[in-house]
């Protein structure tokens, strides 16, 4: 940290303060939430009603507008946890741990959503709800990794120790995710002549991919809102012994 200008370092320190986070982000939520709602509303209505049906899959392809954002956020969430883990272990920033705590269930929820929508989509496409397709299998393993993090955090009583333990696990996990993904991909191509993958539609026209883009952006903002909300709650719970939290509690009574 020696070569970082003083002002930047002060900003970093201030951003690391849970109180600063709580007091600053409260006003962001309505704006982010509103933008997310708008983007998702436009993207979903467009995707459901106005995009033309896929020439192979017909209208079932419209599940793509939620499946892809969910699958993307499932992975991004895990990477975010690992980044928070590095920040926690290297700079001992408590806020990173609180963000990590908040991300785990949200990421797991999106992973579940990606699996569930993929499986529902599989029924009309493959004729069965479950197939050991490379992508679905990797997402399932990702869900296990999330459950491991959540389980570890719940099992360790002291939150500080739990945070660092989860940080180590998230870092080990994030290094393994691409390895798992490639090995599973390779395994599946070894065992079945490439079945056509549901999301690898050849060159979508803009009328089909623009709503997908809108939904990906919208879900990103939605994810941000959920993480901020979760972190704000976590800040209060972890800092419940500080005066500012207690003052806040008493103020809200009045």
């Amino acid at each position: 940290m020696k070569y970082i200008p003083d002002g930047l370092r002060r900003l970093w320190h201030r951003m690391g303060s849970p109180r600063w986070f709580f007091e600053t982000t409260g006003s962001w939520v309505p704006w982010l939430g509103g933008a997310a709602a708008l983007l998702i509303a436009v993207g979903t209505v467009w995707g459901l009603a106005f995009a033309p049906p896929d020439y192979l899959q017909g209208d079932s392809f419209r599940i793509i507008y939620i499946h892809v954002p969910a699958a993307y956020l499932a992975q991004a969430g895990y990477i975010l946890m690992a980044v928070c883990g590095v920040i926690l272990l290297v700079w001992r920033m408590k806020l990173a741990d609180m963000v990590m705590t908040a991300v785990a269930p949200i990421g797991a929820a999106f992973t579940f959503l990606a699996l569930a929508t993929g499986s529902i989509w599989g029924k009309p496409t493959w004729g069965t709800y479950w197939i050991w397709d490379a992508r679905i299998t990797s997402v399932l393993i990702l869900l296990f990794l999330y459950l491991g993090i959540i389980g570890l955090r719940r099992a360790i009583e002291r939150p500080e120790a739990a945070g660092r333990a989860c940080a180590i696990l998230a870092i080990v996990g994030v290094i393994n995710i691409p390895i798992i993904k490639y090995s599973v991909d390779w395994w599946m191509t070894l065992h079945q002549p490439a079945t056509f993958s549901i999301t690898a539609a050849p060159a979508m026209p803009p009328i089909m991919w623009v709503p997908l883009l809108l939904n990906v952006l919208g879900f990103n903002l939605l994810f941000a809102v959920a993480v901020i909300q979760g972190t704000r709650t976590e800040v209060l719970v972890r800092e419940r012994r500080t005066r500012w939290v207690n003052d806040l509690c008493l103020r809200e009574t009045a």
Binding site: H13, G58, S60, L113, R232, V245
Partner: protein, 71 residues
């Protein structure tokens, strides 16, 4: 508009069941992850208020003053 009527829209070319299931599930899960932290925060504030009242009744202090950023 890719559908001729609202009925067609609901039917989704015969795939309506799957499409609507997927979207319904998404609404439920997203709703849960948005509501859950808020619900948890409300519950925490309620409980913490109770704890504070109890400790004030005992003449305790309202917590440490330290809110320095962690480094």
């Amino acid at each position: 508009m890719s559908f001729d009527s609202f009925g067609d829209f609901l039917a989704m070319g015969g795939h309506g069941f799957y499409v609507w299931w997927a979207y319904l599930l998404t609404v439920v899960v997203v709703g849960l992850i948005l509501v859950w932290p808020v619900w948890r925060r409300r519950r925490f504030l309620r409980e913490q208020r109770g704890r504070l009242r109890r400790s004030q009744a005992l003449g305790g202090q309202t917590g440490r003053s330290s809110d320095a950023p962690e480094t």
